[in-house]
Symmetry: C2
Subunit: 379 residues, 2 copies
Amino acid sequence: MPSSSPSRVSVSQLKPRLLLGPGPSPVSGRVLRALAHPTLGHLDPQFLTLLDDVSLRLRGIFGTGNEATLAVSGTGSAGMQAALANLLQPGDTAIVGIHGYFGGRMAEMARRLGAGVVAVEAEWGRVLEPERLIDAHRAHPRARLLSVVHAETSTGVRQPIREVGAYLSGTETLFVVDAVTSLGGIPVGVDAVGIDVCYSATQKCLGAPPGLAPISLSSRAVDVVRRRKVPVSSWYLDVGLLMDYLGAGHVYHHTASSNLFFALHEALQEIEEEGLEARHDRHRRVGARLRLELGARGFTLFGDPGHQLPELTSVRLPDGADAVRLRHALLERYGIEVGGGLGPTGASVWRIGLMGNGASEASVERLVGAVDELGIGSV
Amino acid sequence: MPSSSPSRVSVSQLKPRLLLGPGPSPVSGRVLRALAHPTLGHLDPQFLTLLDDVSLRLRGIFGTGNEATLAVSGTGSAGMQAALANLLQPGDTAIVGIHGYFGGRMAEMARRLGAGVVAVEAEWGRVLEPERLIDAHRAHPRARLLSVVHAETSTGVRQPIREVGAYLSGTETLFVVDAVTSLGGIPVGVDAVGIDVCYSATQKCLGAPPGLAPISLSSRAVDVVRRRKVPVSSWYLDVGLLMDYLGAGHVYHHTASSNLFFALHEALQEIEEEGLEARHDRHRRVGARLRLELGARGFTLFGDPGHQLPELTSVRLPDGADAVRLRHALLERYGIEVGGGLGPTGASVWRIGLMGNGASEASVERLVGAVDELGIGSV
C-alpha cells in the first residue's frame, strides 16, 4: 500500500505489452469484446445457460465426463486452494510432489489445512520419477491424496502423470493434478489418466483474462467431499455449495462475475473452432522454434530437455548477460514481457511463455528480433 | 452441471438488462471499456502503480488512513471469508449480529473456522439494537470480534454502527463491518466509526463489474493477524501474503486480474469525479423517489421504515400480486432485473437496487412504467 501519493494513472494510457511471460497470455480482441459485454445478474436465466455451456466446454478440454466441472471465482491459486481445502481434513496425509515453486505452494497449503505432508522432492528442473511417487504411496497407503504439478511454471518441466494415475486408480488415494499451465497447451486427459481433481486457470493456454479457475472432480472425489466429517473451512470455496449454484440447481451462493464468464466462454469457443489437437500442435511447433532460435544464440535450457514443456521455456542467458537488466530492457524498450525466475532460479533465468494466442511464429520473431537488437548472445 | 447438451449460447447475442436487483448494478460504458483494455501482467510496473492508486482511492471511499486497504481477488463473499479467516483462530469467540441472510452467512463462516459463535439475532427487516450487541460483548468481553452487516441486502435495512464502534474501541474486541451494499451508496466512515475490518464488493454501489472485494484493516486488526499462533487456513486469502503482494513490496502471490482492476480503477475515478457526498445524495434522492412511487401503487416496505437503506428497497407487492411471476415478466418483457426474496421473504418480496449507475431518475421511471403496464397495484 502506498505511503505517499502515487503517480496518478489512467487506464487508457497504459502501454500494451506482448505477454510472453509465464501468464497472463495475450487475450484476443474478440475475447476482450466479450469481456466488456454488459454485465448480467448472476441468476439471470441467460447467464445460467451460459454457465452450463462453460461447464460442458470445459469438460471437453479437460477430457472428462465429470459432472462436477466448473469454474471457481478466483485465480488459479484459488483452484489449488479449492482442490486441497475440499479434499483434506485435519489429520489427513497428503503426498505432495515438489519439483518447483508450485509444488512447494501445494505443500504449504496442505499443511495450513492441517494435513501431514509427505514431500517427494526432486531438484528444480527435473521431473519426479513416477516410481518415487508410487513408492511414497506404498509407504503411506492411506494417504488422502497424492498431488503433482503437471506443468511446473517455475521450471518449464512437464511432469509424467500416466503411470501414477494408473497406479492410484487401484487405491483409495485421490490423484490431484495442477494443470494451471498445461490445460489447452498440452493434453491433460483427466479421465484417461485417472485424475480425481484437476484445476487450471483461465489466463494461460486457455487465452482468457485471469480471474477464474476451472476445476473438475471425479465422482469419487465428490464422494470424499460429501462424506467429510467436518465442513470445508472455506465457505467461499466449498465445492458442494459451488455445485449447487453453478450446477443444475442454480441455488444462490456468490455473485459470479458474468463478465469473466463471458470472456471464458468466448475463449472456449475459440478453442473449439481451432480444435484442441490443432491447438496442442501449434504450441508444440512454436515452442520448438523458440528453443531452436534461442539455442542458436547461446541460451541454454534450465530444465531437463527430455521433459521440456512446449508452452513454457525456462532459459539461462548466454554467459555474461544480465538476465534481470535485459528483461527490464525487453519490457521498457520493446514492450515484451517475459518472466524472471522464482526461488533458486531468481536472477539467472527468463521464463518465456508461448501460450494461447501468444503461441505464434510472430511472437517468436518479435522476441528474437529484440534479443538480437539488445545484442544478447552476439559475439 | 448439465447432464445433456444445453442450448448453445453466444455472448454477443445475450440480451442486455437494466440491473435493478440487489447487485450487480449497471456498469457504465466507460468502465466496460476500461475492463477490456489489453491485459497486463500482474507484476508489470504499470500495473503495480495502478494497484497502488486503487488502494489510495479505496481509502478515500472507506474513509480511512489504513495502510492495509486492498482488493481481494474474489467476490464480496471472498471479502467476508478473508475478514473472518484472518481474524479467527479455532476456539475464538465471535459475536455475530444476525438480522438477515448475510449475518447468517457470517455466523456459518465463523463456525467453519472453528470459532464459538454468539449469535445476536433480530427479526429480518428490523435492526439490531446497539445496546443488545454491547450487552453481548459485556457477557463475552474476550470475544475476538463482533460483526454486523451495515446494509442487509436481504431486507433493505440500514444497521446503526456508530454506538457499537465507539464502545468497542475501548475494548480488545475487533469491530467487523460488512459494507458490501453500503460502500459508495451511504457513508461508511471506517476511521470515524472505529471499524477494524471493513469489506465490500465492486458490483454494488461502486459501479464496477463483480470479481473483486475491497477490504480495509486497521493497524490493530493487522496486529492480530500478524500475531496469530496458527497460520491462516486459507493461503489464498492470507492478508499478510496479500499485503506483501498488493502492498509496497509487490512480492508475487497470485495472478491478480489486471482487467478487473482496470475496471475498478475507472469506477473509482468516476466516483472521484462525482464526489462521494454528491453520490450519497443521489442514492438518497433516487431511493426516496422510488419508495414514493411504489407506495402510491400499494407496495409496502418489508423492513423498518425508520431504517430503510436508500440503495436497496425490499417491498411486498400489493394484495393479490404474484411476486415471482411478475418478477419474471419484468425481466422477460421489459428487460428489467429486480431480485426475489431470500429465506423467509422468498416468494413474497421484490428487492430493488438503485445502486451506482442504476441510481437514477430514469431507472425509477422505467421500472414504474413497467409496473404500471403490468397492471400491478391498479384497481
